[in-house]
């Protein structure tokens, strides 16, 4: 089972590292479009976007004959979004009157982060169109006031429009990008590699759930009668549980090392930091201890297999989400970012990340040890109560 988990983990790592977060991925957005066939303004716009414009690094365009083809492509994941460009919309744009809205479809599922990014892109495009129109229209008004003929005005507006397009294509010259370097942080692939690993180890206690099913109270009382009090029972069981999880970690590390040696995955380049899988062993020991203690407490204290699973899952995934395992930590409000360091998940992330980049280990280590002691203590209390009953 751990094998299957490890395979899944590998796929997940692959998915996430390739996909990155929606904010930091290296993959371009692919925009499909339908309906440009007979509009020359649009065709020239598409040509510019595909060849001249710097946005071609961010967006790739694909044309579709009809909306059904585009829909199928969106469902199959070939494009990130598509737009249907109607004759009415183009007519309006030509006439510089904006009544109709253009619809873009970014997902066939529910709105996600890609959708939010698409909204931003749409806002950018909207802004540029609107203010260009304003410029051209103000020129038109001025000329009309001076008594120019319509013919002349149209010629002039077209010239102005072309001029604007030139300026827009050259907008990169208005910005200078200065890269300050990755001095103190994890690269995006390394970040997600770490969070996925940690998520795996938060979930691993579920593998041992059978441990906590069955006639536990009777066994506990029996052991007490034989001289093993609640504290010793809990410590022994937790130790066994911990070993199980360590074994899981060992297995994952071995798999990663095999992939490094046999399949020649160079983790150092993939993750952009000097990292080898065997380094995970010392790095993860303390986090796994904390997760073991937490998993043990939750799975032991809660009664009923359905309740065990559901409550533990919700707590685990909420903690993982808020600590920045799935979306980057900076997505969350400042207060949450700071507080997440006090959660086992957040402290674990800081602890492991700092080991990779050489940051402070003391504070997260203290948090993790504190949680281990807390959950062990709570488990002993629960066991004591069970024995008394």
């Amino acid at each position: 089972m751990i094998l299957l988990l490890a395979v899944l983990f590998g796929t997940g790592a692959y998915a996430v590292i390739r996909d990155g977060s929606y904010v930091e991925n290296q993959k371009r957005y692919t925009l499909g479009y339908v309906g440009a066939a007979d509009n020359s303004l649009l065709r020239s716009g598409v040509f510019l976007l595909e060849n001249e414009d710097s946005a071609k690094e961010m967006i790739e365009l694909k044309e579709y004959e009809n909306e059904d083809d585009a829909k199928t492509a969106l469902r199959a994941g070939e494009i990130s979004a598509y737009v249907v460009i109607t004759k009415e919309f183009m007519g309006q744009l030509d006439a510089l009157a904006n009544g109709e809205k253009l619809k873009y479809y970014a997902t066939s599922g529910q709105k996600g982060i890609t959708g939010v990014m698409m909204d931003e892109i749409a806002a950018v495009a909207g802004n540029i169109i609107v203010y260009t129109e304003k410029g051209i229209l103000s020129l038109d008004q001025a000329m009309e006031e001076r008594g120019y003929e319509e013919q002349d005005r149209i010629l002039q507006m077209t010239d102005c429009f072309n001029s604007y397009v030139d300026a827009i294509l050259n907008r990169d010259s208005k910005v200078e990008i200065v890269s300050l370097g990755m001095s103190d942080g994890l690269s995006t692939p390394a970040y997600y590699f770490t969070t996925l690993m940690l998520f795996l180890f938060i979930m691993i206690p579920f593998c041992g759930i059978w441990f906590f099913l069955g006639q536990r109270d009777a066994i506990a009382q029996f052991l007490k009668a034989k001289g093993l009090g609640p504290a010793r029972q809990v410590l022994a069981e937790m130790f066994a549980f911990y070993l199980l999880n360590i074994f899981g970690q060992l297995f994952v590390v071995i798999l990663l090392e095999i992939s490094r040696v046999v399949l020649k995955y160079d983790f150092a380049t993939l993750l952009k930091i000097g990292f080898q899988p065997y380094m995970l062993l010392p790095a993860m020991t303390l986090p796994i201890l904390a997760f073991t203690a937490m998993g043990f407490f939750l799975l032991d204290a809660i009664q009923g297999v359905v309740n065990k699973v559901l409550v533990t899952f919700i707590i685990d995934i909420f903690m993982a989400y808020v600590a920045g395992f799935f979306y980057p930590r900076v997505f969350f409000p400042m207060e949450v970012q700071m507080l997440s360091n006090l959660l086992p998940s957040g402290a674990a992330l800081t602890y492991v990340a700092n080991q990779m980049v050489g940051g402070r280990l003391l504070e997260p280590a203290i948090v993790l040890i504190a949680y281990t002691i807390l959950f062990t203590f709570l488990s002993i209390m629960v066991r004591k109560a069970r024995i008394k009953l």
Binding site: S21, K27, L96, G99, V178, S179, M203, I209, Q303
Partner: protein
């Protein structure tokens, strides 16, 4: 009927059941609290060096309309640089005072740590925020180059052009009108998390079933159709969590409209019951089912759109029930695939129940 009610009562007797009921709304309340605070997909520091009209207007615009980003104003570019390096900011923008008096030749500086598509997008956002001022200056420049005398600024300001050009659409428009508005992006994974939660409930129900089978519960429960008994058993366990899920979606602000949601969740429940029974009959052991829990979680989290959309996996994703459910919300096509999948799995589990049973 009574037997199902008794099953239900047995669930309620465990004190932890209340905890289970409370944990979902509690999580949603916390998420709501979190998303009410200020946050952004990217946190961008902005240092506007000028203090003329254009600079003030740009500052105001960024503060009033941040979109999905979060802007923090800085007075000193060096402090901002420091914050970018030490990951307090995703990037920093330095906008010189030439914004006010020489915008056509102005050059802004963007400070980043690492290259990526997000920075390309942020660059476009920066340029599009400056663009209104640029466009005005540009047309004036154009006009004076051509020899016309006047300043078109007033005209420019006075022309009203409709700004709302683009709109996100969904395939199933009718169901979506609520969600299209201001749900915080932080709450977007909520439905995925709850779908996973329901799936785990089905697996846990399987484990419960096996326990009861070992304890001989079904020996005394005679029935003509084992399949119906099995279905009822699962249904009783899944009912309350499913209701909690609907309530949770409502609380979290991602609810669409009542009947579509109800139909989709019922189809999802049927699919889960079918798959859970089949898997249970194949694996036959609580231990192995438990080992499958993280596999199911991880698999569904990767292959269905809970946090990410892993489109490369293509049609492989259709194995996972949560994939169909999550996509069916806005695309009826997936409701049909989910219903077909549910139908097939229920038929298979029916056949298994009637003809391949090992106990009564």
């Amino acid at each position: 009927m009574i037997k199902y009610l008794l099953l239900f009562k047995r669930l309620l007797k465990k004190k932890s059941y209340i905890l289970m009921l409370l944990v979902v709304p509690l999580m949603i309340i916390l998420l709501n609290l979190i998303s009410a605070r200020e946050s952004g997909l990217m946190t961008i520091g902005v240092c506007i060096q000028g203090d003329g009209t254009a600079s003030q207007a740009l500052k105001q615009d960024l503060m009033d309309n941040p979109g999905s980003f979060r802007y923090i104003m800085y007075d000193n570019p060096d402090t901002m640089s420091y914050d970018v390096r030490f990951m307090k900011l995703d990037e920093g923008w330095v906008i010189p005072d030439t914004l006010d008096w020489d915008i056509l030749n102005m050059k802004s500086i963007i400070l980043i740590r690492e290259e990526g598509v997000s920075h390309l997008l942020a660059k476009e956002v920066l340029l599009s925020r400056i663009y209104p001022f640029f466009a005005k200056a540009y047309v004036n420049q154009y006009v004076s180059d051509k020899g016309f005398a006047s300043d078109l600024s007033e005209k420019f300001e006075s022309i009203n052009v409709n700004g709302d050009l683009f709109e996100m659409g969904y395939f199933d428009g009718a169901a979506s009108s609520n969600e299209l508005n201001s749900t915080s992006y932080l709450l977007l994974p909520l439905r995925g998390i709850l779908a996973l939660h329901l799936m785990l409930c089905a697996i846990a129900a399987s484990m419960y079933y096996l326990e009861d089978e070992d304890n001989g519960l079904f020996i005394f429960w005679h029935t003509r159709f084992r399949f119906l008994r099995e279905f009822g058993y699962y249904f009783v366990i899944l009912l309350i969590p499913a209701i909690m899920m609907l309530l949770g979606l409502k609380l979290g602000g991602v609810f669409t409209s009542f009947f579509p949601e109800l139909i989709k969740i019922m189809a999802y429940v049927c699919l889960l019951i079918g798959l859970a029974s089949i898997v249970r009959r194949m694996l036959k052991s609580t231990k192995i089912l438990g080992l499958n829990l993280p596999v199911a979680i991880f698999g569904s989290a990767i292959f269905s759109p809970v946090f990410i959309e892993f489109k490369e996996a293509g049609n492989l994703r259709m194995i996972f029930p949560s994939f169909h459910y999550l996509y069916s919300i806005h695309d009826l096509h997936y409701l049909y695939t989910m219903a077909i999948y549910a139908g097939i799995s229920l038929i298979i589990s029916c056949i298994l129940a009637e003809f391949f049973h090992t106990s009564s």
